[in-house]
Symmetry: C2
Subunit: 102 residues, 2 copies
């Protein structure tokens, strides 16, 4: 889970995920075209996303195709963010009790 949070911490990597959302299966070259940095830099960002299991790749001839895997994002939500939802927070229900609300 730590790898996922760390992968999401970078705007270039979030942008890569957004690209794959609309152009799933995109090649490395295609993803590079969007970004103003070297191909090697993009490769390293993609590796970080692969390590977090947010992207998987397959080789097709001389091209590398990138596929989005949304499952870790679901897990971030289900196992983490969910607990922080307003109506899940105990202190708020405590506040309601104190305030006498119903």
């Amino acid at each position: 889970m730590d790898r996922v949070f760390r992968a999401l911490a970078n705007p270039t990597r979030r942008r890569l995920l957004d690209s794959l959302r609309t152009r799933n299966g995109e090649t490395l070259g295609g993803l590079c075209a969007d970004l103003d940095m070297t191909r090697q830099a993009v490769t390293q960002h993609l590796r970080s996303l692969e390590d977090a299991n947010l992207v998987s790749t397959i080789r097709s001839g001389r091209e590398k195709l990138h596929y989005l895997n949304p499952v870790p994002l679901q897990e971030i939500y289900d196992r983490w963010i969910h607990k922080y939802e307003l109506n899940q927070l105990q202190f708020l229900t405590d506040l309601k009790k104190i305030a006498g609300g119903d």
Copy 2:
């Protein structure tokens, strides 16, 4: 939004949020007691959480009280993770078409 993602990228900061979830309003000293690092390091983590608007503080006498603000987490979900939910992804419906499923 970038500040929120960056704040969440560190396990100590996620742990601080978890502490505040159960002990909202905790003092700096109280939060330090959980962690095996200097008070100054914890202060810097809390500043990062404040910059992301995930924590707000008020001074009470010689103590500083920390309160959790879950709203930025809601926004992360609503404006970002939500778009990646499995049934939101066009490529999956495309896959279904190709596979001929209904």
